[in-house]
Symmetry: C2
Subunit: 310 residues, 2 copies
């Protein structure tokens, strides 16, 4: 049996700016196979000519001959520069709207590609693509949740959930700031990114929570310490703590007095969790893969069901 090639009943895709993840799914929601690549949206020419070959290269073997396989995708693949533009819906809005799923052109007869749209906000201006599907999946698994969902990433999202809808949200460039400072700034000589010290991280976060306006001075202190005292193995943990502490300070209107659902794994779950523990706030942690697959799976269920009878 081990030679039997894996075929998918449907394919789930989370296609972001810098990464593509694909799952071969069974009709019952089971995962038959998983694949990932760094072929993110930013490196691909818009339209099916650019995106379809990348998908076939990664997941083509999962497609059965002689029938169409549904592909349900979320993320930047639905941006203007993506495979097909899947518009934004303005908040307040349900995170998943079966009526707002965009059919994308594909040349391969085995493909039936659907892309979920993102959410937008006017005051202040903000956008998300991909996180709305994680939120939909989280809410599907935690019905009745009211509070704030925190989704760490390059542009971390904080979303306030009221009555099953995303009522308001805010994006923070924390992840991108960390990457720029760690990779391109004068601090790059002073950081051991493979090393993490929780205590140093929490202490730095605490300083930033108390005095967020000092961040640009705190950053230079990391460099000056290195020059005057030699490398501090905890410098990268402190940089991370300064930035995340500033974000959590800025997001206080979201989490104050609210339960937090932290949709994060690994490094992000550990770090945001450490700050929430320190602040003694009420939070639960939820796996992002589980959430996005639930959201994509729910979207497929809606597509299979005549609208209004689901």
């Amino acid at each position: 049996m081990s030679d039997t090639p894996i075929k998918a009943d449907w394919v789930a895709l989370d296609w972001g700016t810098s990464n593509l993840r694909a799952w071969a799914m069974g009709a019952d929601g089971s995962i038959r196979a998983e694949a990932r690549s760094d072929a993110g949206m930013s490196g691909i020419a818009p339209g099916p000519e650019g995106f379809e070959p990348v998908l076939l290269g990664l997941a083509g073997d999962w497609l059965a001959e002689g029938r169409k396989t549904d592909v349900i995708a979320c993320g930047m693949v639905g941006a203007r520069q993506g495979w097909a533009e899947a518009g934004y819906r303005a908040v307040p809005a349900q995170p998943l709207d079966p009526g707002a799923i965009t059919r994308a052109v594909a040349h391969d007869a085995r493909l039936n590609v659907h892309i979920l749209g993102g959410l937008s906000q006017t005051n202040p201006h903000d956008v998300m693509r991909g996180e709305e599907t994680q939120i939909a999946g989280f809410l599907s698994r935690s019905p009745g949740f009211e509070g704030v969902v925190c989704l760490p990433g390059t542009h971390t999202k904080w979303a306030q959930i009221v009555g099953g809808e995303v009522f308001h949200f805010a994006s923070f460039m924390t992840g991108e700031l960390f990457a720029l400072l760690a990779g391109k700034s004068i601090l790059r000589h002073s950081l051991d990114l493979a090393h993490f010290e929780r205590d140093a991280f929490v202490e730095a976060a605490e300083e930033s929570l108390a005095r967020p306006e000092r961040i640009a001075a705190k950053l230079f202190t990391l460099r000056a310490e290195h020059l005057l005292q030699g490398a501090d193995p905890a410098a990268a943990s402190r940089l991370s703590g300064y930035l995340l502490g500033m974000e959590v300070a800025g997001a206080k209107p979201y989490w104050l007095g609210q339960p937090i659902a932290l949709v994060a794994a690994g490094r992000h779950a550990e770090r945001y969790g450490a700050i929430f523990d320190h602040l003694s706030v009420d939070y639960t942690t939820h796996d992002p893969d589980t959430c996005v697959l639930q959201g994509l799976s729910d979207a497929r269920t809606h597509l299979l069901t005549p609208e209004g009878t689901a």
Copy 2:
């Protein structure tokens, strides 16, 4: 007479990380010629083998034959990776110490190279190289000044002056953050760096002064606005305002209730001045070139004078 080549009585150098500026000086402090290049410290191999040819290429024509010409330098040229290491002096300290000038090896018999050292601080750790010479020149021209000196740049310095000494100082990575965000982040697509709107800048600075912890969210708003509404010609002014506003908020312990000497020209003088005007704080503006040349000139005077009799 126009064919007479310019010769220098001495040469003043401000040699930073990314730029080199040189002046052919007369003995009376007059400027006979000026040259600049982008041959900053960071691109040159340490020691005289790397630095001396760069100096001769830029200013060699100013050197008379048959005698030694003093070259007085400040900035990163005195770092460990510079021409010769000129140590840091710990604050509180006078910005210029005639006893702490480092003689650098030069192979050309016409050169007599002296490098001024920087200042360091332990709590919190901080360093400066070059700005101490601007401060020395400023104080030489404004004797008795007590207050804070603000020196904008890649790593802006705020220095508290008490009794002619630098008592305490703080560096802010504001300039480097702006360059990284404008050049390397997702915001780079949304900014017209050639365009400046003072009102939008001041309004953004005001928002940051009031809510510095929101900076990472404000940054993403610039991107989201562009996606949803099209490019805002004032986006770069607002980015600058958010970052400078956060810095001025963080530097409040320095300037609150103190006179500010702003050592800045051009863009920096305009922007910091706009924020100080908005805050109705007491400040004067001083030309950085004039200050650094005064500091270098004072250092040369000390070198020519037997120690203790100056």
